[in-house]
Each structure stands twice: as structure tokens, then as C-alpha cells.
């Protein structure tokens, strides 16, 4: 009764539609450039690891992954750390301006990155953070902190208030209650929020590219710049692309039931 006729066929077709372009990228990353340009082959006839080898040995390539991971991790830590107490406050208390603040946070999550590119460039140049991972990490806070607050607020609201009250009656101080009782209770929520902060920071290109030039250049920027500079090294580009998909693909299994929730800001 749940489903519609022909559902298996529809599902299969849709999944093929999703997987085919990804397969093509993986396929190309294992081909030699000669094979890519000269013939149309559905699988690599002379499989090679040369593109991956190049990325892992050439510093200008692998440093991009390290730079990206650096600001993504800094951003995730900052976002979760500041969002946790705020999520608790929004979930449990009413205070002056709470609704406006909540809306203001959301509006920042939705703000177009293009609007902020230029002022961020000026701001971080002025305070000497330009071209460091901190600039990108702080810039990404503009959408990740609100996201983390919204997601965590949903999870904190799922914890019954009686637990807080019992803990306080038992003589727990607020910080001790927070760390010893609340955080373990919403551990999976923190995991989900961290995952989404990681993801949204990982996939963003515009701000990351604008705020870095040489030292902290993220992998996404290296990919676009290489494409425009010296001709087209399709195999290398494909291999670099495949490697950026891996972090998401690794954790996807653990968060599969929370994907919808994370994208809907904890409101599903």
C-alpha cells in the first residue's frame, strides 16, 4: 500500500541515473590520458594508477587536501562548541529577542556566499588572516553555526526536561550537568551536526577560493585553477574529483537515516 506500481523499475532507473556520471568519473581516473582522448571505452582497457600516484606525490596537489581538511576541522570544532550551549538555551528557555535571534541565524544560513565574498576578502586581509585556514574556517561559520544550532536544538528538545531537573536536584552544577549528562544523551545529535558542518564546509568553493591565494589553497581551488591554466589533464582532474568524494562516501552509511534531517535543519 505504501508504494506505487513499477516502483522497482523507477527506483532502478533513478539510481542508474545517479550512479552513471559518478562511474564515468571513476572510470576516467583509471585511464591514461591517451586512452581518454583517443578512444571511447566503457571501462579502462589499460588501467593505470598514475594520476593517483601524481596527486599523492606532488605537493602542490596533496597539500590542497590537507589545507581543505584543516579549515574544515577548525570550522566544525568552532561551530559545534559555540552551538551546543545556544541550542540548549533555545530549547529550554525564553528570553528577550529569542525568536528574532533564531530567525537572524537562519537568515545567515541562507545568505548567498557571493554577497560576502568581497567584504570577507577585505575583512580578513585587514586583520591579517587572509590566506590562512582560519579565515576560511571563520567565514564558513556564517552558515555552519546557524546550521549546528538548528540541528542541535531539535535533538536537545528530544531530551525530557525531567532529566535536567533531576540532575539539578541531585546537586549537579550547570557545566557538570552539561558535560556529564546532556552531551552523552545527545551524542548522536552532535555526530549528525558535526557531519553536516564538515560536509557543508567541504563542499563550499566560492568563499574558500576567495579567501586563499597560495598557502592555504583548498583542493577545490587547485582543481579549478589547474583546469584553466595548462590545457586539460582530464585523468588527473578525474582522480582529484574521486578523492574529494571519498570523505562523504566513507561516513554516509552512518548518517543515512539523518540525511533528510540535516538538510532540513533538524526540522523533519
Amino acid at each position: 500500500m505504501h508504494s506505487i506500481p513499477g516502483r522497482r523499475l523507477i527506483m532502478a532507473l533513478f539510481l542508474i541515473f545517479l550512479l552513471l556520471p559518478i562511474y564515468w568519473l571513476v572510470n576516467m581516473s583509471f585511464k591514461t590520458n591517451a586512452e581518454i582522448v583517443s578512444t571511447m571505452t566503457l571501462w579502462p582497457h589499460t588501467p593505470t594508477l598514475q594520476h593517483y600516484r601524481r596527486i599523492f606525490t606532488d605537493e602542490s596537489w596533496y597539500s590542497g587536501y590537507i589545507n581543505s581538511l584543516e579549515y574544515v576541522v577548525i570550522n566544525t570544532v568552532i561551530s559545534i562548541a559555540v552551538a551546543l550551549p545556544a541550542a540548549y538555551a533555545f530549547s529550554r528557555y525564553r528570553f528577550l529577542g529569542d525568536k528574532h535571534l533564531f530567525f537572524w541565524l537562519l537568515s545567515n544560513r541562507m545568505a548567498p556566499a557571493a554577497v560576502y565574498a568581497l567584504p570577507f576578502f577585505n575583512l580578513y586581509s585587514a586583520i591579517g588572516l587572509f590566506d590562512t585556514p582560519w579565515a576560511v574556517a571563520l567565514a564558513h561559520c556564517i552558515f555552519n553555526v546557524p546550521l549546528a544550532v538548528w540541528i542541535l536544538e531539535g535533538f536537545v528538545s528530544g531530551v525530557p526536561r525531567e532529566i535536567d531537573e533531576t540532575a539539578f536536584l541531585d546537586g549537579y552544577s550547570f557545566p557538570r550537568f552539561f558535560i556529564k549528562i546532556l552531551v552523552p544523551l545527545i551524542a548522536s545529535g552532535i555526530g549528525v551536526a558535526a557531519f553536516f558542518c564538515f560536509m557543508f564546509s567541504w563542499v563550499e568553493l566560492l568563499l574558500a577560493r576567495t579567501l586563499t591565494s597560495v598557502q592555504a589553497k583548498p583542493i577545490a581551488a587547485i582543481m579549478t585553477r589547474t583546469v584553466s591554466a595548462a590545457g586539460m589533464d582530464w585523468g588527473l582532474l578525474a582522480a582529484a574529483g574521486v578523492l574529494t568524494i571519498i570523505p562523504g562516501a566513507l561516513v554516509i552509511w552512518f548518517v543515512r537515516n539523518y540525511i533528510a534531517r540535516g538538510f532540513a535543519l533538524g526540522r523533519v
Binding site: S3, I4, P5, M11, I78, S107, G189, A220, R267
Partner: protein, 300 residues
Amino acid sequence: MDKTINQKAWFLVLPVFLVVAFSAVLPLMTVVNYSMQDTFGNNQFFWNGVGWFKELLDPSTDLGGRFLASLGRNLFFSAVILAIEVPLGIVVALSMPREGWSVAACLVILALPLLIPWNVVGTIWQIFGRPDIGLLGYVLNHLGFNYNYVSNDVDAWVTVIVMDVWHWTSLVALLCYAGLKSIPDAYYQAAQIDGASRWAVFKAIQLPKMNRVLLIAVLLRFMDSFMIYTEPFVVTGGGPGNSTTFVSIELVKIALGQFDLGKAAALSLVYNLIILIVCWVFYTVMTNAGSERPVKEGAA
């Protein structure tokens, strides 16, 4: 749920407030400042009042023309992808397997495009659509279509739209699936006893129950497609000509390409205002929906 009034809660919110204020309010002030001035370089600024805004909203000027054209393209793009992704997402959600390992497998594959960096999504389709090395372009051209997204406007549009459908339909599907799963079996049993048709079940039970998630999906998709930058930038670079130049691409061109601070700032503010209005609708929907949310659902 009753909440207690406690002004001390502000201390808990303070870190968030400071971080977001630093990264949002400060830059926004700069934008407002720039939008009223003109510069000839050398850090010399001249007061320009609302001049930029007048120019921006007047289609006969260069700036106004570009803004309105990109806005029109963007709205058209959003409308098209919503018209495709929402029905398709519902169909896919209804096609989800009922139980067993295949549910998890489908969820994982559906989620995969959502977690790919946006520029890589662009790269994937850039490669996939090329007539010489991409499967899609190659097959289409061998079937007799003269498909080339680099030189043909329509092909560029089709590529960008198919790419967005590929990238984001899963989100609509996953949201709808979450809505469908919350329908108790008793509803379906009652419908079966009444002898309701498949269509009647959809119209009377599933659609109303999906109402809220659908609204969220539509608003999220509208907002994100309205801000789209990276994917079309990588695939078409806004071209051929200006045919796929959306508002964000235009804005970055003016701001970082030409360093035309005043114009870019004025455009940013108007752009932001549109987003803010849609965002307010979104917020109202979300918080109203939140009050109907059963408490259990929030449990981890």
C-alpha cells in the same frame, strides 16, 4: 512544551552571537558602506547616495540590464528545477523499497550526490557531457543530436538543469520519504478496508502527510537554486555568452572581476533582501510546523 523565561540564557547564546556577528554583521556593514560610494581606485571614495540603487533598478542602464537579465534567468532556472525535482522526488520516495537491506542501500546511493563538493559536481558533468570524452555527449551525438554545451545556449541550459536534477532531486526524495515513513500503518489499513484506490490513498493520506516536508523541500530548493554559483560556473562559466549567468555569477564578476565595489554592494543588498523575504516565509513555515511536531520525534 512550556519554556521558562530566563534572561540568563543570553550567556549561553552569546558565543554564537559573537561569532556570527563577526562574520555576518561586520561584512554587511562594509557592503552598506560601499553601496553608497563610488571609487576611482587608490582608496579614494566619493559619496554616491542611492545612485547605484537607481541604476540597478533601471533596466535601461548597463548595470540594471545585467541585473534584471540574470535575475530573470535565475527565476526561470528555479522554476524549471522545482517543476522537475518536486514531482520526481515524490515519485522516487514512493518507489522506495519497503524493508530489508535494499532500503539502506537506496538511501546511501540517493544521498551520494548530496555529499559531493559542488565544484566536483560541476567537473563530473563537465566531463560527462563533453562530446569527445563524455558518455552523455558521445551517445547523444552518435544518436544524431548535435549536442554541445560549450557553444549552444539550449544545450548549456539543459546540461545545467539536468545537473541540478541529478544533484538535488535526492534531497526532495529523502525529505518526502521521511514524511511518508511517519504515516502509521493504521491509515493504510483503514484505506484498504474502505477499498480506496491507489490514487485516493495518495491524495487523501500521503500527500497531506507530506505537506510540511514538501513545503520545506520547495523552499530549500528555491533558496539554494536562487544562490547557485559553483556548479554552472564550473560547467559553463556563465556562457555561452551570458546565457547561463545567474545572479551570483554576475555578482562575483562585478565584485571580484571588475572590482566595482559600489555596484557590487548595491546588487548584494538587493539580492540579500530578496533572500531575506523568502527566508522569512521559510521561518514561519518551519516554526509553525515545529509546534505541531510530536515530542518523540526529536529523540535521538
